[in-house]
């Protein structure tokens, strides 16, 4: 198996993975998507709410705010010694107390949440929660716990994760000389990968494989059948996009940890059952 990073920044990680089977790469994708835990607010106690939103909607909005997660210190409530009741090793409390003394309306941002653990904070302090009028106030207490996105989307550690076959386009540009059309393909490609600025022969971009979506529009519509689009078997482009909840290496390490744990548990259970020969 070969791995190559083609783009990496704070919120995106794009990889080429060569020589991995479809089942394996999909297992990794689905484990990251629905098994890797993340922190999110799960319980809100609203003490005073003068805003135009109902308590339920407000609680829902607060719950969806992504929080930076620390997987070392915290445990899932189900695995915790307290039995899911709530204790310092499975729960973080956040409070918000805003009183609007001014004459104008006031927006309450996620930065106004005060937490008792400085590692568990909203990923962005500028997420608007609600707006309150003059003289109003908003007071609530919230409890964040670890969870898995099989239960609710708010616990998802990534905002998007997908892969596709590595595209491989065979383009016979000699055929373009007899083309009756002024390259319909260059106008059709949704990613604009054919450059037809010289009006004679279109040029396929060198790094087309980065953005080609394998939509086959070029292959289907070329009147001279000069193009053939294929996905390379067992070679994949893997894209992960995160909200900044967890760093990418933690997400991937944790995914494999969970994968091994599931397999180990399976083997253990298998040994307990008598398999008749």
């Amino acid at each position: 198996m070969e791995l190559e990073v083609i783009e990496k920044d704070k919120y995106n990680l794009n990889l080429i993975i060569r020589g991995i089977s479809l089942e394996m790469i999909n297992a990794i994708r689905r484990i990251i998507l629905s098994w890797v835990p993340a922190m999110a607010i799960d319980e809100v106690i609203i003490l005073k709410n003068d805003s135009p939103l109902y308590d339920e909607i407000l609680a829902h909005r607060i719950g969806l705010i992504p929080l930076k997660t620390d997987l070392e210190t915290y445990r899932l409530p189900a695995d915790c010694e307290c039995g899911g009741f709530g204790c310092p090793s499975c729960q973080v409390s956040l409070t918000c107390e805003v009183v609007n003394d001014s004459k104008n309306n006031l927006i309450i941002y996620s930065g106004d949440l005060k937490t008792n653990d400085p590692n568990i904070v909203p990923v962005n302090p500028n997420i608007p929660i609600v707006k309150i009028g003059s003289g109003s106030s908003l007071i609530f207490e919230a409890y964040a716990t670890l969870g898995r996105s099989r239960t609710h989307i708010k616990w998802q550690p990534v905002s998007n994760i997908f892969f596709r076959y590595l595209p491989n386009i065979t383009f016979e540009s000699e055929k373009c000389n007899n083309c009756p059309d002024k390259c319909i393909v260059s106008r059709m490609c949704p990613e604009k990968l054919y450059d037809f600025s010289d009006e004679k022969i279109p040029i396929l971009q060198k790094d087309y494989w980065k953005s080609c979506t394998l939509c086959n529009a070029c292959e289907k519509n070329c009147p001279e059948k000069a193009i053939k689009v294929e996905g390379e078997n067992d070679n994949y482009l893997f894209f992960i996009e995160s909200d900044g909840v967890l760093p990418f290496n933690t997400i991937l390490k944790k995914a494999f940890e969970i994968f091994y744990a599931i397999i180990d548990e399976f083997i253990e259970k298998l040994e307990q059952v008598e398999v008749k020969e």
């Binding site: 909005r61 608007p128 905002s159 998007n160 909200d243």
Partner: protein
């Protein structure tokens, strides 16, 4: 509904307001923090394409969250809440 349409068309200068959903309905990406900067980009006369690129919004599900949003919380704030 008529109120919403009237509001949208009467509102020539787009004002900066709130209650944009926190995450995209379809993909779950955080988008609420990008709404205000997006409107600021437009007020500076930049294209929305550039604004989306700068704010890191790529998919059209997230773009429609921002572009199709009509903000009404300021109108709701004019009325006292029934307690």
């Amino acid at each position: 509904m008529i109120f919403v349409i009237k509001y949208f068309f009467n509102n020539k200068k787009r004002r900066l307001k709130i209650i944009i959903p926190i995450r995209c309905f379809s993909c779950g990406k955080l988008i609420a923090h990008a709404y205000k900067p997006y409107l600021e980009y437009l007020e500076r006369g930049e294209s929305s394409e550039k604004a989306y690129e700068e704010l890191g919004i790529k998919r059209f599900c997230c773009k429609r969250m921002i572009v199709a949003h009509v903000d009404l919380i300021d109108d709701l704030l004019k009325f006292p809440r029934l307690q």
